[in-house]
Every structure is written in structure tokens, then in C-alpha cells.
Subunit: 434 residues, 2 copies
């Protein structure tokens, strides 16, 4: 199957300069085979997508989320963190069934698609349901089962969560034309004992996979870790071997100079979640310092209960703005760097940099088309600035993953939108009586 995208302003993400005006992208099956200003020769498309002067970008990569948490969107806001988590979020989570998670993840996936996300890193429970959603919808994801163990007397070999994560790996790793990858998901230093962490490292190495974990999200986490182990969370995880696996470290809001050195040494990818970190009052991660050290910084939305959306354009915008304002330095984090976080850096974090994050021959055809015919894009002085500072999620019109159209001019091709809303409403009503 050959597809030709035409009349496209292509932000390739190969370099800031490589923006192709009025160009073409040729796709054969799931791969990009041509990108250029001229019509490709000897390429016979069965399908033509006319962008009508729109912007074409690699699909955005949401490197840290908990997709089913859309169910808790706007359920409890503007509260102290502990009250929010223990009194409001956890009691509802205890009541959720696998079917709830299926529909919740479907809703989250719909929202992500509408904001141009073609790939996400997810950590939650009933992850088999999330895998089914990813497989059915045709999107790409790195999935991990959230793991926690507070008791050193529990045998990790018998730990239900760990067994589920291992089973998830066996069932789904590499499935759906390689669109699904499975990592292990130790939740954090404060929810996993040291021996549990070490067993996870051992399992990850046996499976040959990576780790997705929350790191130094709050000052409280750091203080407790220092008190309990005499070390920062980063040093603690380093010492227990976590970072010997390919690692996605979400947040890293409160990291020291030494922490950053350790993260760099182990090639850990940090995921910046500016919206969630602001909303929960966690703080602002020292992203410019991490970037200066050459740490790979990707971008994430976190869960919708602490954001309250899965809108990557908003995170891109926040990433570009925040550091400028906080440091009173308008040259911090240039527009292109913010866009890199959401594409190439995300691909690297999820271990997919050979396949996604750029519009380039040989890459997977994970592509979004943004409608530029909106007042907030005129005049068209700089397409990259426009994407970072002016674009809204709702400007994304068409989205392809593996060369397949998942959303076509705003219409979902693999999701029955009304069916999802119906089920979400039903769950909401039922939850009140559980």
C-alpha cells in the first residue's frame, strides 16, 4: 500500500533547518520511503492525502502517562497532595474493574490522538486492557504494570503485580507489528523496598527489557528517602542497579548536581511533566541544567487526574515558557528544543529512536497533519514557533500510525466515539454505588 502526502509543510525534526515547504511524503506500508520537495519518481500511490498547506510532523510521543486516569479527571482538584491522593484518588482506584480500565484507556487514547500523540509510555494496572486498546486502535505504546511492595517479607516470586508485569511482557512484547513494547514499572523509591527493586532489575535483565519509574517528584519523597536510606532517590536507585536497565525516569523535579551526573552516566531518559508538576505543587524540574549536561529530556502529560488533560501541545508550550519565566531568561529552551522533547527525545526515551520521532525515509509512518488555516497561525512567519507557542491540540486533523490512518480530518477510523462516551457515563453512574 503506497500513500502520498502532498501540499505539506514538513517539520522533519532531523534538524531545525530541515523544514520542507510544499513538500511530499511517500509511505509504503508502515514505513516512510520518501521525503522531499519534488514529487517522488516511480512511486505510484493508491492513496493521496492533501494537506492543503498544513503542517506535517512526526507523531508526538507522550513519554509518561497513566491513560486510564482520565476517569478521575477533575474529580479532585486544588487540594493538598496527600489529601488528593489518599482520600480522593486511591479510594476510587480500589473500585475499578478491568472493564472500567478498558474504556478509560480508550477514552484517554482518543484524547491523546486528538492532541497528535501517536505513541505513549503508560504505567497503571489491568494493563492487559490497555494493551487491547492499543492493539485495537492501532496506536503505539510502551506499557508497564505499576509495581509496589512495602514489605520485605513478601517473596517477589509470588508478588501478584510482578507476575502480571512479566505476563504482560510475555503476551504483548513486540505484538501488533511491533507497536507494543513492555517495560517493568516499579512505582518509586517510596513504594518499593530495596530487595524488591533488585528483583525487578534481575527480571528486567532476564527479559531484556527496560524500566519506567517515578523519580524525585516531590521534596517530601527526597526527604523521606534521605531519612530512610541516607541517599537521594536517584543515588538509591543507582545503587540498587535500576539504571543498569534502559530507564525512563519520570519527573526528576528535585535532583541534585550529583543526581544529574548519575542520570547522565547511566543514559537515563528523564521525562518532564510540567503541567502535572505545577498543578500538584511539586515544583519545576531543572530542565535546562539537565539538557546542558546532555541528559535526554522527553515530555509527558502524566495522568489526567493531575493535569487535567492529555494534551501534548500544552506540555510543549509549558516546556518552552516555564524555564524562560522562572530563570528570567527569554533565550532558555528554544521552540525547536521543546518540539524535540516531544518527538526525537521521546523516541529515545522509549527505546524507539530507530523507528519514530522524525519524518525521514526508513522511519515508521507515525505522522500528524496540523491544519494551519486558523487565525492563530497567521501570518506564517515561523512554522516551528507556530507549533510551539500558538498551536492547540484541536488543530490536529489527521493522524497516522504505521502508515494507517487512525484519525482522518478529525474523524476516528478505529474508535466508535459515542460507544466510548456511553460506557464512560455508565461507569461513572455505577461507581457511585460500588
Amino acid at each position: 500500500m503506497n500513500t502520498l502526502i502532498k501540499n505539506a509543510n514538513i517539520i522533519t525534526m532531523e534538524s531545525e533547518q530541515k523544514v520542507i515547504k510544499n513538500g511530499y511524503v511517500g509511505i509504503t506500508d508502515d514505513r516512510i520511503v520518501y521525503v522531499g520537495e519534488e514529487l517522488p519518481e516511480d512511486f505510484w500511490p493508491q492513496r493521496i492525502l492533501d494537506c492543503r498547506g498544513g503542517a506535517v510532523l512526526p507523531g508526538l510521543i507522550n513519554a509518561h502517562t497513566h491513560s486510564p486516569m482520565v476517569l478521575l479527571r477533575s474529580y479532585a482538584d486544588d487540594l493538598p497532595l496527600q489529601e488528593w491522593l489518599f482520600n480522593r484518588i486511591f479510594p476510587v482506584e480500589d473500585k475499578l474493574t478491568s472493564e472500567d480500565i478498558y474504556w478509560a484507556s480508550m477514552l484517554g487514547t482518543m484524547e491523546m490522538i486528538r492532541s497528535g500523540i501517536t505513541c505513549f509510555a503508560d504505567m497503571y494496572y489491568f494493563m492487559d486492557e490497555v494493551a487491547k486498546v492499543v492493539s485495537k486502535v492501532g496506536i503505539r505504546a510502551n506499557l508497564s504494570r505499576g509495581l509496589q511492595c512495602f514489605d520485605d517479607n513478601i517473596d517477589p516470586l509470588q508478588d501478584r503485580r510482578l507476575l502480571e508485569n512479566e505476563q504482560l511482557f510475555k503476551d504483548w512484547e513486540g505484538e501488533s507489528n511491533g507497536r507494543i513494547r513492555v517495560f517493568l514499572g516499579p512505582h518509586s523509591v517510596y513504594t518499593c523496598t530495596p530487595s524488591y527493586l533488585e528483583y525487578i532489575v534481575d527480571l528486567a535483565q532476564r527479559l531484556g527489557t527496560g524500566i519506567h519509574i517515578h523519580v524525585s517528584e516531590t521534596l517530601k519523597e527526597n526527604e523521606e528517602c534521605l531519612e530512610k536510606y541516607g541517599k537521594t532517590p536517584v543515588r538509591h536507585l543507582y545503587d540498587h542497579g535500576i539504571f543498569n536497565c534502559p530507564s525512563i525516569a519520570a519527573h526528576c523535579v528535585h535532583v541534585s548536581e550529583e543526581d544529574m551526573s548519575l542520570l547522565k552516566e547511566k543514559n537515563v531518559s528523564v521525562v518532564y511533566n510540567p503541567g502535572s508538576n505545577l498543578k500538584l505543587g511539586s515544583g519545576i524540574a531543572p530542565v535546562t541544567s539537565m539538557m546542558e549536561r546532555g541528559i535526554n529530556v522527553a515530555l509527558g502529560t502524566d495522568g489526567a487526574s493531575s493535569n487535567n488533560n492529555l494534551n501534548m501541545f500544552e506540555e510543549i508550550h509549558l516546556a518552552a515558557l516555564l524555564s524562560k519565566g522562572v530563570k528570567q531568561q527569554p533565550t532558555n529552551i528554544k521552540a525547536y528544543e521543546a518540539l524535540e522533547m516531544a518527538t526525537v527525545n521521546g523516541a529515545k526515551a522509549l527505546g524507539w529512536d530507530k523507528d519514530i520521532g522524525m519524518i525521514k525515509p526508513g522511519m515508521k509512518a507515525d505522522i500528524i497533519i496540523v491544519n494551519l488555516n486558523k487565525p492563530h497561525f497567521y501570518p506564517m512567519h515561523n512554522i516551528i514557533s507556530n507549533m510551539v507557542y500558538s498551536a492547540q491540540a484541536g488543530d490536529v486533523e489527521t493522524l497516522l500510525v504505521d502508515g494507517k490512518i487512525i484519525m482522518d480530518k478529525g474523524e476516528f477510523k478505529t474508535i466508535d466515539e459515542e460507544e466510548v462516551y456511553y460506557n464512560i457515563k455508565k461507569i461513572g453512574k455505577e461507581l457511585a454505588y460500588r
Copy 2:
């Protein structure tokens, strides 16, 4: 002319509790005559607007902008402030004609309407053109001519800018069914001599109008003012009588405890412009401190050259998030407070609190309808949180000002969208040769 809005979730902004589910709004001519859960009795509508479960809010009020600066959107980003302003912005502004300003302001107005803004406070030049746009489109605005004078030897009576502002007042104050109001627009302490400021106060008092001014936007402004006059900008303006007039003080990023006392004493309305202040690296205004003192804090987008959009939903979101993150306090600026900034507080800042900012009988029918049937609004736990943390400008479907439909399900009724784009493109091409 009677209009009935039905199937509406009405966020009245009278109080946080007063949200009416599945309600009705009755409008006669330009005023709201009924708000309630029941169908109004003895009210015979000629026109019915079915919200299909959407949210109905008072139109948003953008309390500080320079609408024609959309022409410079994405023209120069991520640069040091001085280079941005003196080497990039000013040289282009010098070339603009009155016709350019007309089309630029029209584009800015289109963008504002798309983000739910029904009223804005504008400061620029060729303001007669902006008034024509406001009048033609049917939106509401408080207009001021940007005033500056660096030379104490110039007679204010002969100052071109001041004469233009006075003429603007004479021509447009109260025009278009009262939709246009004219303030005087002294640019700032660093662009106006003390005697010029005093003359402006004198003129404002003679005309019986107010003042719109930039205050303490950057640390540099404060340092220079302290060096030159031995006072902070707020104290300097206070001493020269500016705040004896109803005043809109944009920015106030760097204000001292004493400054805040003075602003409160004189009932000055502060306009918070979080997006612009972040992007230009100006800093983050101490909004919670100002609010604790009872200062009226409204919200603005500033010009699109430093934002780069006129998207009030983005500013509402930033207002709610920023203070939480910077102070590491998730209870700071609750969702409803952010929404107040963009509605009731804006109305107060612009001197229109008797007429706009709430959905309430007796108020002008400046109303927006937001489509809630989007993935990012499900499930509907809290409509106010949804508006503040999840909504996008693009969710605004219908907009009324003075009871007249300006945008109907995304379609402009008083603007020829393609004509505006055509003229904006033409200006862009011509500018290169001027």
C-alpha cells in the same frame, strides 16, 4: 428580539456554587432577562439556541492586549528582550500603515472570538482603525492610544499621540451601543516624562475617563526607575497622580509590599499576563499576594508578538497552574478564582462590572457556548475544573455580544474570514519591500 438559550450548563460566575444544570438563559435585545432551571414564563423567543448540554459562560475579558501585534506573531522569538524589541519589533512597527492596523486588528479580533473573548482592553496606535473593527465586528472593547514622550521640552498640548487619544475619545467613547470605551494609554514610566504623566492625569480627569498603563513588567524597568527617580514605578505613578484615575495596571511582575499597598489604596486593577511574562523572561507576578490584599487581578494575553497567541483559555490555565508550582502549594489559585480573573475581575478592571462578567438578569448578553462533547471533558466530574484545566480555545462554538451572534457554531457572522487572510498575506508580502 427575544433569544432563548436551552440545554445549557450555566456557569453564572455569581458564585462558585451557582452553576445551573440543564438550564435556560432568556435574552431580550442586548440584555439577559432570565437565568434559571425552568423554562421562563411569558417569554416568547424568536430565536432558540440549543447548547446540547454545552457550557454557557459569560464572555471572557482580555484585560490587556495590543491586538494588531498579531502581525508580528512568531516573527522573532527566544531572543533577549532588548534585541527582540529594538532590533526586531520596532523596525517593523515603524513601517505599518493605518490599513495594516485595520486588518491586523481584524485578525486579532477573529482569534480572540475563537477563544471566547467578547471584550478586550487594547493599547496601540492607529486606534481609530481598531475602533472601526470593534464597531463592525460587534465585539466590546476599551481602547487607548499608546502614549509616550521622552522629552520634557515638548508641549503636551502639541503632542500628536495625546491629541489622537483625545480625538479617539471624542469620536468613539460610548459609541456602538456603548460597546466602545476610550481610556488614555501612557505606555510606562520609562517612556513618559513626569510632566507628561501629569498632563495625562489632567486630561483623563477633564474627560472623565481612566488610564491603561504598563507597570513594573521587568526588573530593568524597576532598576532604572529607582536610579532616575529614587522610587519604584508604582510609587512614581502614585506620586504623579496616575492612580487618582480609574487605572488598569498591566503586568506588575515586580511589585514590593509597599507597591501593593498603594495599588490597593487606589483600587488599581492589576492585569496578570502569565504567558507573555514567561515568554519574555520577565518573571512571575506575585498574584496570590495581591489577591490576599484584595487587589482586583484581571487576566490578559498581552500582544501576540510576546505570547504568541490571544488565547484566554491558555492564560486561565497558566494562572491556575503557575502559582501552585512556583510556591509548591497545590491549593493556590483555585480553578474558580482563575475563571473569576477572566470574567468578573476583568469587567471590574475595564469599568464595566455593572454590565458584563456574569450571566445574570440585567447584564449585557455577552455569552459564550462551549462544546463539552470532547474526549478531554469526559467524565464530567466538575465543570469549572473542566473549563480551567482541560478546555481549549477551539472548544468555543458560539459567541454573543450585546445579544447578537458574532460566531455561530464556529462560523463568523460579521467577519469574512478569507478576506482577512488575503489581506494579512498581502501585507506580509508588501512589508518585505517597504
